[in-house]
Symmetry: C4
C-alpha cells in the first residue's frame, strides 16, 4: 500500500488535535472584568502555545519517519493508529495542567501528561522497529546511515518521557520546567544540528 493516505490521515489527526487546543482557552467574565481575567489567564495561553509546539514537533518527526517509507501495510497502519490515539489525547492532559498548575491537582495533571507522551514514544519506537526490521518497509533510496540516525533519535524518547513522569510524581513543577527545557533543547538542537536533515529525504 502506498503511504499517501496514511500521511493524509495522520496530518488530519495532528492538525485537528493542535487546533482543538483553542477550545480550552476561555475567558468567562463580565465586560469590566475581562481585562483582568485575560491577564490572569496566562497559564491557558502558555499551555496552548506549549501544546501546539509539542504537537508540531511530533508532526515534524512523523514527517521524517514516513518520508523514509517506501510503502505501508496493515500492521504499520494499526501501530500508527495507536500512536495517533496518544497524540489526539494530548489536548486532555494539557487542559488539565493549564487548569491545575497552581493547585493540588498539578501532580495528577502532569503525570497524566507524562503517561500520554510516554505511550506515544513507545508506540513510535515499536512502529519504527517494525518498519526498519530487515528494512521491511523502508525505501531502497534511503541509506543505512539515515536509518541508524533515526533509530538513535527515537530510542531516547520513551525513557526521557518516562523519567519526566517519575519526576512529576516527586515535583510536578520541576517536571514542567524539565519538559519545557527539553522542548527548547530539541528546537535549539534542530537549529544548530550539523546534520542536514534535508539530506534525509
Amino acid at each position: 500500500m502506498k503511504t499517501s493516505r496514511m500521511e493524509a490521515f495522520s496530518d488530519g489527526i495532528f492538525s485537528i488535535a493542535a487546533t482543538l487546543l483553542i477550545l480550552d482557552v476561555t475567558a468567562d467574565a463580565s465586560g469590566g472584568a475581562l481585562g483582568g481575567t485575560l491577564r490572569h489567564s496566562w497559564p491557558q495561553y502558555a499551555a496552548y502555545a506549549f501544546g501546539f509546539i509539542v504537537i508540531g514537533i511530533w508532526w515534524v518527526n512523523h514527517h521524517v519517519f514516513s518520508d523514509v517509507l517506501a510503502k505501508t501495510d496493515r500492521v504499520q497502519l494499526f501501530l500508527n493508529t495507536l500512536f495517533l490515539a496518544c497524540i489526539a489525547f494530548l489536548p486532555f492532559p494539557i487542559r488539565l495542567v493549564a487548569k491545575h498548575v497552581w493547585d493540588e491537582g498539578a501532580r495528577a495533571a502532569v503525570v497524566t501528561y507524562g503517561i500520554t507522551t510516554t505511550l506515544a514514544s513507545i508506540f513510535a519506537l515499536i512502529s519504527w522497529m517494525y518498519v526498519s526490521k530487515d528494512r521491511r518497509l523502508i525505501s531502497e533510496k534511503v541509506d543505512q546511515e539515515t536509518i541508524d540516525h533515526i533509530t538513535r533519535l527515537i530510542i531516547p524518547g520513551a525513557p526521557i518521557n518516562a523519567g519526566a513522569t517519575l519526576v512529576a510524581l516527586w515535583s510536578p513543577h520541576f517536571a514542567i520546567v524539565l519538559l519545557l527545557a527539553l522542548t527548547f533543547f530539541y528546537v535549539l538542537g534542530t537549529y544548530l544540528s550539523k546534520r542536514d536533515w534535508s539530506e534525509v529525504n
Copy 2:
C-alpha cells in the same frame, strides 16, 4: 471522476471523528480530588482508545476498498456519504456507553452503538455491491481473486454487528465483551493473516 477527492473527504471525516472523541474525555474536579477522579474515569479512557481503534480499523478497510477503484461516480459518492455519516456518528454512542456503562442506561447505549455500526456495515456492503457489479468502477489492474476476497470480508460485517446489537438487548455487558473480542480478533487476524495485503494494491 478520480477517486483522490473522495479519499481526501473520507480521510477528513475519519480523522475528525477520531479526534473529536477526546472532547468527551473530561475530569471536572477540584485540585485535591483530581487524582481520584482521574483514576475512576478509566471507562472514559477505555472508550476513547476503543473508539479510536474502531474508527482506525474502519479507515484501514475503507483504504483497501478505495484502492481497488479506478474511478468514482455520483452514486458511489452518495453511498460513501451515507457510510461516512455512520462513521462520524460513532462519537455519540461511544460517549453514551462510556457514561452509562455502570448504570441502567447501558442497554440503550450499547444498542445505539450497535445500530450505528450495523448501518455502517450495510452501507459499506451496498457500496461494494454497487462498485463491484460487473466491475463497474474497479481498476483493470485488480484481479478477480482480490475482488472475491474483499467480498468475503465485507459480507459478514452486517450480520455480526446486527447480532451484537441483539445480544446487547439481552445483556449489554456481554455485548461489550463480544465487541472488544471481535476487535482484538480482527487485529490479531490481520497480523497473522497469510494473505499479504500489500499484494492487493
Copy 3:
C-alpha cells in the same frame, strides 16, 4: 495557481462542517431514562442525517465544479471562501431546526437555514459566472456542452432556496417537507440521470 490546495482547503471545510454536526446530538438523561430520551430524540438524528447528506451533496457539486477548472486565481479563491463560509455555517441553523421543530421557534429556525442555503447558492452562482466568463479559468479539455450543462444546474439553486425560505415564513413545517423532497428528488435525479457524469471529467 493550481487548484489542488483550493480543493484541499475546501475538502477540509466540508468534512469538518459535516463531522461537527455530531456535537449537536446529545442525550442528557439518568441511566433509567436514557432509553426513552433516545427514542424521543429522533429529530436530532434526522437533523444529523439530513445535514450530513446536504453537506455531502454540496461537496459533490463543488467536486464537479472544481474538476472543470484548469487553474484558480485570487478572486476565485475569495469567492470560494465566501461560499465555504455559508457551508460551514450550516451546523448552526440545522441545530436550531432540530431543537425548535416542535415549538414556536420553528419559523425563525427554518428561515435561518433558508437564508444560509440561499447565500451559498448565490456565491456558488457568482463563483461559476466568474470562472466561466469567456472560459476564464476553465480547462481546455472541457467542452462547451459541459459548461452549459453546469450553468443550467447552478442557476436554479438560488431561486429554489429563496423560494423555500419564503415558504418557511408562511409555514415552516411545509418548508421542511419541501426541502426534504428537494433533497430526495436531487438524489433520485442523480441516480436516474441519463447523462453520464463521469464523462464530465
Copy 4:
C-alpha cells in the same frame, strides 16, 4: 523535504480554525423568543463572517508563500508551526470581540485580537526572511522580481497590525472599523491589482 505535507498540515489548521468559528455562534432561547434572539445576535454572525474571511485571506497568502518554495527544512517547519499557532488562536479573540463589542470588555477583546494578528505577522515575516535569505528554500523557477514583490507585501503586515492594536487601546470601536476597512481594502486591492497573481506561480 518536500513541501506537500507542510501544505497539508497547514491547510488542515486553516480549515479547522475557520470551521470552529461556528461553534461560537449560539442562540439559546425559548421557542417564542428565538426570532428576536436571532435578530439581536448579528454581532455573532458578523464576527463569524469577518473571522472566516480573515482566515481565508491568511490562507490565500500562505498559499502564495508556499508556492514559491522548492523545499522545506526543520527550521521552516518550526517557524510555520509558530505562525499556525497564531492562526488557530484567532477563534478565541474573535469570540471575545463578538461577545464584548457593546460592553466595557471591548478594549481588552480587540487588543487580544490585535496581539494575535501582530504575532502572526511577525512569524510570517521571520519565516519569509528565513526562506528568502540567499534564496535558501526558493524554487529556481521563481524570478527575483516575484521574491521582491512578496517581500514588499509581507513587511507592512506587522506594523499595520501593531498600529491597529495601539489604536484599540485608545478606541476599540475605531480599531474595529479600521480592521474592517483594511480587510475590504485588501480584498478590493486584490481584485483591482494590475499584477496578475497567477503569474507568481
